[in-house]
Amino acid sequence: MNKPSQPVLYLDDVTVSFDGFKALNGLSFVVEPGELRTIIGPNGAGKTTMMDVITGKTRPDKGTAFFKGVHDLTKLDEETIANLGIGRKFQRPTVFDNHTVSENLELALKADRRAFRTLFARIGAAQNERIEAVMEQIGLAERARDLAGSLSHGQRQWLEIGMLLMQDPELLLVDEPVAGMTDHETEQTAALLKQIAGARSVVVVEHDMEFVRALATKVTVLHEGSVLSEGTVDHVQNDPKVIEVYLGR
């Protein structure tokens, strides 16, 4: 980060439409360095589309999106954006089922991504230590040699978060990390995410209000493709606009 004051993520007036339906409608959104931010919103509010725009999967019809104030995210592809330092966890946990836990982490490891380099790549001691450390962190050290396909749903969520950590990104986008987790796992995940934030910025999308409360961060409410409300959990929960959207009229 060249200028500490520069926001990590800066979206302004982003609009995306599919066949006339506006998935994002003039969305503006800023994430500061080291911030942990939670995004909530009903289905179809544009949460996933917003992540698609940030990671280069979807090109907006209109608007600007900058990473660290210099990288224009609307012009770059997924690989480049990932290498700039934006990691993403999908809504449905996506890990490589036919690879072991440690191999999954090895693939995510920050290293030369060029094809010929990976052909001759060897894992050094330092890198190996890092893999071990992350496995400890996500609680999968004992299952290092097991195929990811054999993990439980919650473990797969964690493995994917672990892969994000291996990437060592400056911004993590985490889509519904506690879906399908037990209460205990949810608590652990909240602790994990809080631990991660600080050194990097984290944006979490979640429905589970208990979890959102546990994170205790600034919350952004999306509705119909734009920001409806922003503030603490208590603030947004008492915002009449939010109540109207969630409870209906």
């Binding site: 990671t55 690989e79 890990v95 036919n98 090895e106 693939l107 001759f120 749903h153």
Partner: protein, 392 residues
């Protein structure tokens, strides 16, 4: 991390099968001696055609490895690999044509017979250099590689995947077949290239040359196997299988999926080209029918039968299907197409992991997706395992 590496390598082999594989290699290597050193009257004598036939299968096994590399490990089902095989074959055929020299029917020292027949006056520019064996070998690698590069770059860049990709690879080989059927392409049209005399000065019709080509094919098969095993066992190999299983995840990890696919596709095309180049001097002809979509898809079924995602499986499949074909086409020729068709149906329905899967051993192949496992169990009358709880 040698343990980790060994583990990956071990998975490429059918574990515990190593002694058997070595035994098979030794037997295969000794076979030509039964042709060369044993008198024809002996019951152990192996006739010429058998050497030629097994030599052919060795080339098919190399092609199967090439297909398995992209299909089994990267998930790219190419229905046009016959095109790379044929291009390698044509490059070798061009050398063999030039090697005929003035011993052809028309005694033209420079022009192959079919060009004299077509009343051509000079050698087309793209036939120059093929009188040199090394140049021809280089082309065996470069031409299929270049086609794969251009085609793959166009296809992978625009993210054409799955069956779309399969269909356009089929269109590619179909277009090439039409092109090579044309006389004015300068590759002998319908008849292709044939009537070869010798290779590097060795007469193609002697037992010694036949055995030599056989050994060359066997050596190349082993070399290709080791190369593929090294590639799929490397970190690059793990990225490739990751692309197969969750392409977008790989992309969001910052890997250029296009480049990785392109690497595998070009390497695979070159291997197929080598297989074609070894095949042509043994069968003595190369013609446009090698480009036919049916030929390519038949090669795919070898891999499916053996077990995609397993290198040993690919080789096994090539031998099994071609062995059955040779036996059946002499025994009941009209039955063969029924059986081949039946193999397509049976393997996809009941043996998604091929012969290798039958033995219950690990392959690097993708595990069967849950819905299909349920279907399979339903068909076999067993109860499917309860699906894992998942949030809708």
């Amino acid at each position: 991390m040698s343990a980790r590496l060994n583990q990956s390598l071990g998975r490429a082999l059918v574990s515990g099968a190593r002694p058997y594989i070595l035994a098979v290699i030794v037997i295969l290597a000794l076979l030509p001696l039964l042709n060369l050193a044993v008198p024809p009257s002996s019951p152990f004598y192996l006739p010429d055609f058998a050497i030629k036939l097994i030599g052919k299968w060795l080339c098919f096994a190399i092609l199967a490895l090439a297909i398995d590399l992209v299909w089994g490990y990267v998930g790219i089902l190419s229905l046009g690999h016959g095109a790379f095989f044929a291009l390698g074959g044509y490059a070798m055929g061009m050398y063999l044509m030039r090697a005929i020299g003035d011993r052809g029917h028309y005694k033209n020292p420079l022009l192959p017979d079919f060009m004299v027949f077509l009343n051509w006056k000079e050698l087309p520019w793209y036939w120059h250099g093929f009188d040199n064996f090394l140049f021809a070998l280089l082309m065996v690698l470069l031409i299929p590689g270049l086609l794969a590069f251009v085609f793959g770059w166009l296809a992978f860049r625009s993210r054409i995947t799955g069956v779309y990709l399969s269909i356009i690879t089929q269109a590619m080989t179909f277009a090439l077949m039409l092109a090579f059927f044309r006389n004015d392409m300068g590759f002998g049209g319908n008849n292709g290239l044939t009537d070869f005399k010798d290779i590097l000065g060795f007469n193609l019709h002697t037992d010694g040359t036949r055995a030599g080509l056989y050994w060359a094919s066997l050596a190349m098969l082993i070399a290709t196997f080791l190369l593929c095993r090294w590639v799929v066992g490397s970190k690059l190999g793990r990225v490739l299988t990751a692309v197969r299983d969750a392409e977008s995840r790989v992309r969001f990890l910052g890997y250029s999926v296009t480049n990785y696919k392109l690497f595998a596709f070009v390497l695979s095309a070159m291997i197929a080209g080598v297989a074609g180049a070894l095949y042509v001097p043994q069968v003595g002809i190369i013609n446009p029918s090698e480009f036919s979509p049916a030929a390519s898809i038949e090669a795919v079924i070898w891999v499916a039968v053996g077990g995609r995602g397993s290198l040993v499986g690919a080789i096994l499949g090539a031998f099994a299907v071609n062995g059955a074909k040779s036996w059946l086409t002499s025994y009941a020729p009209e039955l063969w197409l029924f059986i081949l068709g039946g193999i397509f149906v049976a393997v996809t329905l009941f043996l998604p992991r091929g012969i290798v899967g039958l033995f219950g051993q690990k392959s690097d192949g993708p595990r069967i997706s849950k819905p299909s496992l349920a279907n399979l169990s339903k068909m076999l009358g067993t109860v499917p395992p309860a699906p894992k709880e998942q949030r809708p």
